[in-house]
Structures are given as C-alpha cells and as structure tokens.
C-alpha cells in the first residue's frame, strides 16, 4: 500500500472517530468497541469491499455483516463519510423519528441485517455465503464478530458448519480488542490461543494488527486463504483506540460524555494527549 493511500485512509479514519466521539454524548454509545474497529471498517468500505452507495442492492455485491452490533457508531461514521447516508442524519442519533440507535438495522442504507444479540450474524452470513456460492458468484461474505462474542455457542456451531460446507467465500473477522463488556477477555473466558482454535475447527487463519492498513490490505487481499476452507482474520486491536484517556480500559465500554468533554476529546483525537474525564463511568447498558 502506498504511503499516500495510507495517509488518505488515516485521515478518513480520523474523521470517522470524530463522528464516534460526537455520538458519545446525549445518551452516549459504545465508544470503546466502536473505536477498536474503526480502521477495519474504513479499510473495508473505502478500499476493499465491492459496495458503494450506488450498489447497496446489487445482487453481486460483497456482503459485510456487523455481528457485534454495538460498534455501529463506527459504521455510521464510515457510511456518513462515504456517502451512504447524509452526515446530518447522525444528528438523529437516538431520536425516535429516525433509526440511528445503538445497534444496526436495515433502515440505514448499506446495513445488510440487524444485529445486537451476539452470535447471530455468523449463521445469517453463512446462509448468504451458501446462496452466493449457489449463484456462482465470486463475491465475499464477511462477518465481523467481537472477541467477547466468541463466548456464544452459536458462533462455534456456525464455525463447524461453514467448515463442513467448505465455504471458501465466507470470512469471519474477529475484532480482537481484548475486552468484553466489563472485563478483559483473558480474565473471564480466555480465548487464547485463538488462531489454533479456528485452525482446529478447519479454518484458514491469519492474525494481524487491525489498526495497520498495510496489514489489512495484505490479509484481505489474500482471501480466500484456502480453496476449500473458510477464512478467519483475527485483528488485534485496542479498545478505545485513538483516545488515550479511554484506551484499553475495562470501565470505558459504554460512554456518555458531557458536551465539554466531547470538545476536549475531539482535540485529544488529534493531539493524542489524554484529557481528564469526570463523567460517570457506565459499565452496564
């Protein structure tokens, strides 16, 4: 990847993070999980996926399913920046007269399916991948899961079934930000060694830095990793990435900042110098 391209994606990701910070007030949102997958979503929609505002219904488009739906602010920000939805629509966050809320839904163009309950979209994506294969399409069906989401048994059902069906057009992406809602994953339900788990289930695995655009390009560009196996890309990420004052903190899952804090955090995105936060910490939503 050229350095110009990297700079372009970094600038886009910064603007997406600004949207996430602005959505983290007046009711708030799942800021930390949104920031961990921002670079991933920016890379996918700006550079990899065969989908654009003009082709959201094209039968042969690439399909991306956001199974860890609470990180949807990163998707809203990406969609607003890339013209899938007007930026002004983000002002309707949590307003009942629109459908911009804490989890994705199909009233937002580009959202393939609703999510929120964890462990669902791997199976829905499996169905879509089966259909795409029956149609003889060469497109991608990609499902992004959280790492905490891997606690759900239904994910592993689908991992077994996709391997049994040799679904090489099906890719799971794990946003491995090392935290579930309130606790570090390894302190609650340890997932490591995660790559070998998937390998043991018959998947082809790559593990990368999910904030490094060159690594994202190298991994996604190599899909499918095997001709007769589904692929998984484990993206090591940092929860809260971009805001040093909340990065990798177990207590900053759901954030509802004051208006003044949002001003300071927007500066922090650019300066990378921590701000002092006094707003209430919410660990349950």
């Amino acid at each position: 990847m050229t350095s110009e391209k990297q700079d372009e994606l970094k600038a886009l990701a910064l603007r997406v993070r600004e949207h996430i910070v602005r959505l983290s007030t007046d009711g708030g949102c799942f800021t930390g999980a949104s920031l961990s997958c921002a670079d991933l979503l920016v890379y996918l929609y700006a550079d990899f996926l065969n989908i654009s505002p003009a082709t959201v219904d094209a039968p042969d488009r690439d399909f991306l399913f956001l199974s860890k739906g609470h990180d949807v602010p990163a998707l809203y920000g990406t969609f607003a920046e890339l013209g899938f939805m007007p930026k002004e629509r983000l002002a309707n966050h949590l307003k009942a007269n629109d459908s911009i809320y804490w989890h994705p839904n199909r009233a937002v163009p580009g959202v393939e399916f609703h999510s929120g309950s964890l462990g669902h979209l791997p199976s829905v994506g499996l169905g879509v991948a089966l259909d795409n294969r029956m149609r003889g399409l060469k497109n991608h069906t990609i499902v992004i899961t959280g790492d905490g989401e891997l606690n759900e048994g239904s994910v592993w059902e689908t991992v077994l079934v996709a391997a049994a069906h040799k679904l090489s057009n099906f890719t799971l992406v794990v946003d491995r930000n090392h935290f579930q809602a309130n606790v570090a994953t390894e302190d609650l339900i340890p997932l490591e060694p995660l790559g070998p788990k998937f390998e043991a289930f018959g998947w082809a695995v790559q593990r990368i830095d999910g904030h490094d655009f060159a690594q994202l390009e190298a991994a996604f560009g190599a899909l499918p990793f095997a001709a007769d196996r589904p692929s998984v890309i484990i993206c090591d990420t940092v929860r809260g990435r971009g805001l040093p004052s909340i990065e990798a903190r177990a207590d900053r899952w759901f954030c509802n900042f004051s208006a003044d804090e949002v001003v300071e955090l927007l500066k922090e995105l650019h300066s990378q110098e921590s701000t002092t936060l006094t707003s209430e910490t919410l660990t349950v939503r």
Binding site: F113, L126, G127, D131, G153, T158, V161
Partner: protein, 317 residues
C-alpha cells in the same frame, strides 16, 4: 402424494425453495440426490439452521426448515424471533413431532408450548393441519405466502374428506346447538369420534378444524360463541397460550363471554408412551373427550362406552 413428493415437486418447479434440516431427515430422506446444493443439512445445530435460513431468505430464497418441534421452537427461539421475526423473512418452519406426536420420547421432546411461542412473534403465521391430506392441501399456500410460517407437521392418515384450504379460514365440519369442539392438529381424528359418540347420545355437536391458529378465523369463533352452546377447546398443548387463550382473547376483544371447556395440558407435561397409551392415560381418546363433554353438558358420561382405536405413530425419532 406424500410430504416428500410435494416439497420435491415444489422445489423442482421453483429454484427459490431450499430444503434445510438440522439432521432431521425423516420426511426428506430422498431429497439430497434430487436437490443437490439446495438440500442443506447443518447437522444438529438448530440456531445455525435458522440463522442460515434467514440469510438465504435475505437473498430471495424460500427456506423450508426441518427439525423437531421442541428444539426448533425452544433452542432456536431467539433466532426465529430475532432473525426471522424482526427481519419478516419468508422462512417456513416444518416442525416435526409436535404435541402428542413425540409420544414415547419424554418431556424433553414435548412441544406443547410451541403455538404460544410462535404466535407471540409479530408477523409469524401458525398452522396445524388435521392429517396428512389436510396438510398437503395447506402447504402450497403456506410456502407461496411472503410471511414467515410455523407448521405443526402431521403426516397421520385421515379418513375425513377435507374442504379446500383457504388461508386464515377454519374448516367447519359440523354445526351443533349443544356444544362445538374447536380442535387443531392430530386430535382432529379423536374429535370426530367424540362428536359421533355424543350425537349417538342425542346431542347436537359442532366441530371446527381450526387449521390456522394465526391469523385466527375470528368470524368462525364468533359464530360458534353466538350459537350459544358449550364451546370446547381441544388441543395437545399447554392450556396457556394455545387455542383456549386465543378464544379468550377473541371473546374479550368482542366483549363477549361463553361457557368454555378447555381440554388441554394444564400446567403439566404428559406421560410418555406409545401414542395410544398417551391418549388413553391423558384422557384424549374420542371416548374420553366425549365423556368429558357429556359430563359438562349434564348428561351421563357412563353411557358412552365405545372404546376408540388409535393408530400408532410411525416415527420413532
């Protein structure tokens, strides 16, 4: 014609139809060779089965999913509600051995809250055919509809010549002034016998094959209530949430009341055994039903002495 032939013919005529199963192939054993990739067995994974069906439906397919009623409606309930229900997707659920049809399996396999659960999902349609012929008459319209659908599969042979199926309409088998039996699914054959036994005692007894539980045929229920006799709700389901509850909802909505005898499973699972044993033990043979109704009508139940034979269930899964 049997179920497998019907779904095969439908699938061969319409490539949107996908036959899916969570390794429950009793009704569709010969289809893998015929349908190739349009036969999808996910193994014993009811949640993934339903999620994948939702994904296929998103792409314009009509998935017909097969598994045991209890595992589909209980294990995969949230997937049916959240993926199929919120998505309003045309996933067609063929629910195997519902109600008494799981006979000897025991309470783990007794789907006797399925109607309550499925009708609670917005947009879900719910069907319970009386026998195989009734079911084969209903399925083409159910599969052709854009709605998600739950069908209590019933392959039992019947003797009654059913009227053509009309979506959302009950089948009025007979009208009566003393009592009317409202029934759905496999108990229809026992209800027919019960009606004959009561008629032989000089009672005028109506019989309605509900067929569709949601959307329910409200007009048919109101006609029965307005006729004024005893209304019997007969079902192999918990007393809560099924036909008795549906009738109560219709009555309240229309500011009416009625004398109702619910024959259902009240706060209990049934005693497992061969189907004939179950019906006898639980009091759901034609004779038992007739006696319970006679008693409620103030007649002499002991006058009804004819024993009823029950054809055993043909499935052991």
């Amino acid at each position: 014609m049997i179920y497998e032939e019907l779904i095969k013919e439908t699938a061969l005529a319409d490539d949107r139809l996908i036959v899916m199963t969570a390794e429950n192939r009793a009704l569709i054993r010969n289809l893998p060779a015929v349908l190739g990739p349009r036969f999808i067995d996910t193994g014993i994974t009811e949640q993934t089965l339903i999620g994948a069906a939702a994904g296929l439906a998103l792409r314009g397919r009509i998935p017909v999913v097969h598994a045991l009623a209890t595992f589909l409606t209980l294990r995969a309930f949230e997937f049916i509600r959240t993926d199929v229900g919120i998505g309003q997707l045309p996933v067609k659920i063929s629910s195997f051995v519902p109600g008494f049809l799981s006979d000897g399996n025991g309470p783990t396999h007794q789907a006797i809250e399925d109607v309550a659960l499925m009708r609670g999902i917005p947009g879900m349609t719910v069907f319970a055919p009386a026998d195989e012929a009734d079911m084969l008459g209903m399925l083409p319209q159910i599969w052709a509809s854009p709605s998600p659908a739950y069908v209590r599969i019933n392959t039992r042979p019947g003797t009654y010549q059913h009227a053509p199926f009309e979506m959302g309409k009950a089948e009025v088998v007979a009208t009566g002034t003393d009592a009317t039996i409202l029934v759905y699914g496999m108990l229809f054959e026992q209800a027919l016998i019960a009606r004959e036994l009561l008629e032989a005692q000089g009672k005028s007894v109506g019989l309605i094959n509900m067929r569709t539980l949601k959307p329910v045929d409200e007009a048919a229920l109101l006609q029965v209530v307005q006729a004024g006799g005893l209304v019997v709700t007969l079902e192999d389901h918990f007393q809560t949430g099924g036909l008795y509850s549906i009738l109560a909802e219709v009555l309240l909505k229309n500011e009416l009341t009625a004398k109702v005898l619910p024959i259902a499973l009240n706060e209990r699972w049934y005693k497992p055994g061969l189907l004939s044993e179950v019906l006898e033990y639980e009091g759901f043979t034609g004779q038992h039903i007739a006696r319970r109704i006679a008693e409620k009508l103030g007649a002499n139940p002991a006058a009804i002495t004819t024993k009823t034979a029950v054809v055993e269930n043909q499935f052991a899964e």
